[in-house]
């Protein structure tokens, strides 16, 4: 067993901080903040009971890693297959938060129309794949979209990206998908948020290599490790990885280290996470780290940050207020057809 990781963690230095980088940092920070405020609202609605049916799954602590990837993608050109804790990445990709709220509240105006809920949403025709719950299985789907574009001659410099956690890397689907993407040398980013716990299962019961990024070599793909609480480092890593993928560099596996700062879902108090882990640097809140970084570099002052918080809160409140008046599904108006070929739907024929 390899007990020492071959990987070095990428960090960001002062020379990386160009004006362009600063602009992307601030934009990404805004996406993170919007995600955090939106999710806090979802969490409080869940705890209040009644309005949200089913679970609420939050990405608290993972916003930097998630949004730093999403912000590199171009909606309409790239394909994104986000996972559970990618609210921030979805916002950065260009999903309006009203899609989130409509899906959580089951509004028929939303992309899933009450047929699916919470994080299981997307608009595939816009390159936003709607995740299923089975971990690892979106990797091959995103790869397939890229494969089809290559065949049709429309791939050009578009790329795909998909996310997974430490637990999801243990699935056969993850292995099959990444191996296939590597064989086809597809331009896909696979971001692995190692948040130390898959629901309650710690890393020690999930894998036996020193660092998940060491697996990249085994697949024949590029692998990079990063401190996922550090937005600047995440941006640097994902900018470079997406650039490599766009010019034919093949799959890129990015492993971020962090701690999940919420339960698996809001029903889970995560009491299995020991205090020691919560005091570790990996448990830093990436949003606070990003705000401090902004202040330290004089990119925003405290008053501007406060104002931004207020503005984001108003935006979120208005969105919930609008959606709460929208209709929920009516079983009598539902067509109950799982096939697009209406003539092949059973029970529709006249007896």
């Amino acid at each position: 067993m390899l007990s020492v990781s071959l990987a070095e963690t990428t960090t960001c230095s002062e020379t990386d901080l160009t004006a362009d980088f600063r602009d992307q940092f601030l934009l990404t920070y805004q996406h993170m903040l919007l995600s955090r405020v939106l999710e806090e609202k979802l969490g409080s609605l869940y705890r209040a009971g009644g309005r949200i049916v089913g679970g609420v799954y939050l990405g608290k602590g993972q916003e930097a890693f998630s949004a730093a990837l999403g912000v590199q993608l171009r909606k309409g050109r790239d394909i994104y297959g986000p996972l559970i804790r990618d609210q921030a990445g979805r916002i950065a990709f260009g999903e309006p938060i009203i899609d989130t709220v409509r899906t959580y509240l089951g509004a028929v105006t939303g992309p899933m129309r009450g047929r699916d809920g919470n994080i299981h949403r997307g608009r595939p025709k816009e390159g936003h794949m709607a995740m299923i719950s089975h971990l690892g299985s979106m990797l091959a789907v995103v790869a397939g979209g890229l494969f089809a574009r290559r065949l049709a001659g429309t791939l050009k410099d578009s790329i795909g990206a998909t996310s997974i956690g430490d637990g999801g890397t243990s699935t056969g689907a993850f292995h099959e998908g990444l191996n296939m993407a590597a064989v086809e040398r597809l331009p896909i980013i696979v971001s692995v948020a190692n948040n130390q716990y898959a629901y309650s299962t710690p890393n020690t019961r999930q894998y036996a290599c020193a660092n998940l990024v060491d697996r990249a070599a085994g697949y024949g793909v590029e692998g990079v490790a990063v401190d996922a609480t550090d937005l600047a480092a995440c941006l640097k890593v994902f900018r470079a990885a997406t650039a490599r993928a766009r010019v034919g560099g093949g799959p890129q596996m990015i492993v971020g280290s962090l701690l999940r700062l919420a339960g698996h879902g809001e029903h889970d108090d995560a009491s299995y996470v020991p205090d020691k882990a919560r005091k570790d640097p990996a448990a830093r809140d990436c949003l606070a780290v990003a705000e401090q970084f902004t202040l330290d570099h004089g990119w925003m002052n405290e008053a501007e940050i406060r104002e931004l918080h207020e503005e984001v809160r108003r935006n979120v409140d208005q969105t919930f207020s609008k959606v709460s008046k929208e209709p929920t599904p009516d079983p009598f108006k539902e067509n109950w057809q799982a096939l697009s070929s209406a003539d092949l739907v059973e029970g529709q024929h006249e007896a």
């Binding site: 995103v142 397939g144 998908g177 697009s340 007896a351």
Partner: protein, 321 residues
């Protein structure tokens, strides 16, 4: 000049590739090698860059087909054996089958499944998976029994905007021949009266159609006229044609090669019992394989699945009632 069932499958894929640039083929050993059964023989040469060898990754193969379909492609995926589709089961029933319902984006993929038993193939190269997939909403399951259907139903499957499980029977690959492919007759969803009769109805599909026809020949010697209904597609199931046949004969034998618990034959019985109980002159009967894994040795294999002799015996019991 004649054409086999297997050649018809190859010809249909040739035609699909020729007709529509969105079609591509993905499967294990299907490119230069032409597939384990040669169902894609020469296609990689005839259509360069559109027929691909895949890794042994049934899950990823189906997942990639779904992603490709979202982008407008119409992939045909070859499972080397239907049995191995169990490894891709999750992507078939949870990804492909739910895509349209969840997102309103159709999923036009065709999954070819070399199905059913041949002597000596054993437990893992002989399975019939149609009932498993028919159980899940969002999939169309076709089970061609003739050369003509092998050809036209494969072309129709590729044209359909929904995921299709195309169950091709390995026993028919070389044994079943026709002078020519013939004209397209029925659309997917319509059953065919393979042999008209008036004393009893056998409802069956795939290779068992031919066993049923032989049993019907045998019963004719005793003066019985047995009607044989070939379902063609098990989902949707053409309940109207089944009920019309039972209305003519008053007796039903539901016949399938798959395992006995639940499944297509149980579905046939359930529909006829609930919608056509008044048409029945005798309790409806089922005949399936035995409830064990599929055996390797021909002596055991022949006794595991329904045969002309066991079908004829079942018919005699049904007619005696």
């Amino acid at each position: 000049m004649s054409i086999t069932y297997l050649e018809a499958i190859r010809e249909a894929q040739y035609e699909a590739l020729r007709h529509d640039p969105a079609v591509f083929l993905y499967g294990q050993d299907i490119a230069t090698f032409g597939g384990a059964f040669k169902a894609t023989k020469n296609l990689s040469k005839e259509f360069p860059g559109r027929v691909f060898d895949s890794p042994i990754s049934e899950d990823a193969m189906i997942g990639m087909a779904v992603g490709a379909a979202v982008e407008g492609a119409r992939p045909i995926i070859e499972m080397q054996f239907a049995d191995f589709s169990s490894v891709g089961f999750n992507q078939i029933i949870n990804q492909a089958a739910t895509l349209y319902w969840r997102t309103n984006v159709p999923c036009p993929i065709t999954i070819r499944m070399p199905s059913g038993g041949t002597a000596g193939s054993g437990p893992f190269h002989s399975q019939s998976m149609e009932a498993i997939y028919a159980h899940y909403p969002g999939l169309v399951i076709v089970t061609p029994a003739t050369v003509e259907d092998a050809y036209w139903m494969l072309l129709d499957s590729v044209t359909l905007n929904d995921p299709v499980i195309y169950c091709e029977h390995k026993f028919l690959y070389y044994h079943l021949k026709a002078d020519q492919i013939g004209e397209r007759s029925l659309p997917i969803g319509k059953a065919r009266i393979a042999r008209p009769g008036r004393h009893a109805t056998i409802v069956t599909y795939s290779a068992m159609v031919h066993e049923a026809l032989r049993a019907a020949e045998e019963l004719q010697l005793d003066g019985y006229q047995i009607e044989v209904v070939d379902l063609r597609s098990v989902k949707p199931m053409d309940t109207d044609t089944i009920l019309a046949s039972v209305a003519r004969t008053g007796r039903l034998l539901a016949l399938g090669e798959a395992f006995p618990w639940g499944g297509v034959t149980a579905e046939i019985i359930a529909r006829v019992s609930s919608e056509g109980f008044h048409l029945l002159d005798a309790p409806p009967m089922r005949l399936n394989s035995k409830d064990t894994p599929i055996p390797y040795h021909p002596n055991l294999w022949k006794s595991h699945r329904p045969t002309t002799a066991t079908i004829a015996a079942a018919l005699r019991r049904l007619l005696r009632y």
